[in-house]
């Protein structure tokens, strides 16, 4: 054996030593320096999944809201928006769940949020409630007429619209949309069976419109006039058409 080692030429010994050192370095790098997940695909997968799973959750999920809020989820249950998750409108709320007092979710009150879903678009499925924003109470926030937690289409009594559909459609886009027909027209029950012989009344006094539009009686944003000087010899509807947008 000793003879065998002595017989190896020196050059060969050097090369063998060099390769031995290289092999040792490789072994050290692999054993001690390389991270474990670089050596095993299964472990690499595992650590990538772990990193993915550790990401921050931003949408808390529909179950979280009902744990504190009672009124709105209850109201929503029976309405058209029952399948809508709270966070669809109020935005990502995990931070609010973690810290309910300091972080408040958004609450879209403007007209343009509802339009994401409810503006007319020919690609939307038939029957989905859509409006033309140019004619449907322009500039009025949707929440003045519709409760977003239980939205309902406001409407005049069905019995009027059955025949007076055109008036109903016009009125629906006017400022008087929320006033029912019977507020201004007292309608005898018989009008339904004999519409031409028994007719509903029309407001025949200026004071009727004056109840809302006389100076000092209007609510916020209501147009008012001085009844004594504003077109005194006419009845209001001779100049203004109350069903029309803007009442002109």
């Amino acid at each position: 054996m000793k003879d065998f080692f002595k017989k190896i030429p020196e050059q060969a010994v050097r090369i063998i030593v060099l390769f031995a050192v290289l092999a040792l370095v490789l072994l050290v790098v692999r054993q001690f320096i390389l991270p474990l997940e670089l050596k095993d695909p299964a472990l690499q997968k595992n650590s990538a999944m772990e990193r993915e799973a550790a990401k921050e959750v931003k949408y808390a999920g529909a179950q979280s809201c009902g744990q504190c809020h009672e009124k709105e989820p209850e109201m929503k249950k029976s309405g058209y928006h029952r399948d809508l998750s709270c966070e669809s409108c109020h935005g990502a709320a995990q931070k609010h769940v973690d810290n309910p007092t300091d972080v408040k979710p958004t609450s879209p009150k403007k007209r343009d949020y509802c339009s994401y879903c409810h503006n007319y678009n020919s690609s939307r499925p038939t029957g989905f409630p859509q409006i033309n924003p140019d004619t449907h109470n322009p500039r009025k926030p949707c929440i003045t007429c519709h409760n977003p937690h239980n939205p309902k289409p406001p409407k005049t009594p069905r019995s009027c619209a059955a025949c007076h559909a055109e008036i109903e459609r016009t009125k629906a886009t006017s400022y008087h949309a929320l006033i029912e027909c019977t507020v201004c027209h007292s309608t005898p029950e018989k009008h339904k069976t004999s519409p031409r012989t028994v007719t509903p009344t029309k407001p025949d006094k200026r004071e009727f419109c004056g109840k809302c539009h006389a100076k000092g009686s209007g609510g916020k944003g209501m147009p008012t006039v001085d009844m004594a000087t504003h077109g005194e010899k006419y009845v209001c509807w001779q100049c203004h058409y109350p069903h029309m947008l803007g009442g002109i």
Binding site: L36, L43, A48, A62, C117, N121, S123, R124, F128
Partner: protein, 248 residues
């Protein structure tokens, strides 16, 4: 030392090295999140074209939940609007996130039919992106989700090229491939993906492909289903109901 002993020692050294180097990493594998077991799930998604109203809430939620850059060309999920005219010409646009387009009332003429198609990573059972990745950075988890290991990805974009659905993009900040993960960090916590969470019309249904008594199970039973580009044999786990033949 005789020759027999020498060989014995060498064999021992090699095999002990294999034991230390090969087996020890596996012992390190641990649960990715609490007691979540990926092997018990197999996720899929159903999309009902007839229900989608193109409100883009899913796109918005996805960007928020996953920190996807805000620019309108980085998407993990997006919604396409198809307009097929009477002359059979087809126009496809990715809808804006509701900022202008979906709010405008679009009055097009000669529309034969029109609809929205939500799109996302199809989480293929035979994913082309996994096949082409030169460094093994993208892989399929036991629960059927295709993930990207951001630490290992070298940003070569082969997978972006290979994806027949255009579901991947190069993240401008991390410079690695990014894609829909079915919101993996939410799944391990038992939450729904963000897009499913906010969808106001339940056009997206999420669940376990194996489970029968679940919304997805019912979706699969009750609808005529189709997948995108079936001829490629990618075997997607995103299933479409009421999909038009023009969609590709």
């Amino acid at each position: 030392m005789d020759r027999r002993d020498f060989l014995k020692h060498v064999c021992l050294l090699i095999s002990s090295g294999a034991v230390v180097g090969g087996l020890s990493p596996a012992a390190w594998a641990k649960m990715i999140h609490k007691d979540y077991d990926p092997a018990k799930h197999y996720y899929g998604m159903g999309v009902d074209i007839d229900k989608c109203i193109g409100c883009a809430r899913c796109m918005q939620a996805c960007k928020t939940e996953n920190d996807v850059p805000g620019d309108p060309f980085y998407f993990r999920t997006w919604v396409e609007r198809y307009v097929i005219k009477v002359d059979k010409s087809v126009t496809v646009n990715t809808i804006n996130m509701g900022l202008d387009e979906s709010r405008d009332v679009i009055m097009e003429k000669d529309v034969l039919r029109s609809f929205f198609v939500p799109k996302l990573c199809n989480q293929c059972d035979h994913p082309p992106c996994v096949q082409v990745c030169p460094v093994g950075a993208t892989f399929k988890t036991d629960d059927g989700v295709i993930l990207v290991d951001g630490k290992r990805c070298i940003g070569c974009r082969y997978c972006i090229q290979a994806c027949p659905y255009g579901a991947r993009y190069l993240h401008p900040e991390t410079r690695v491939a990014d894609k829909c993960t079915f919101c993996y960090h939410r799944l391990v916590r038992g939450l729904l993906p963000a897009c499913v969470e906010v969808c106001p019309k339940q056009a997206r249904v999420f669940g376990d492909m194996k489970s029968i008594a679940s919304p997805l199970g019912r979706f699969i039973r009750m609808n005529k289903l189709h997948v995108l580009k079936p001829s490629l044999n990618t075997d997607p786990k995103v299933l479409y109901a009421n999909l038009d033949g023009e969609v590709n």
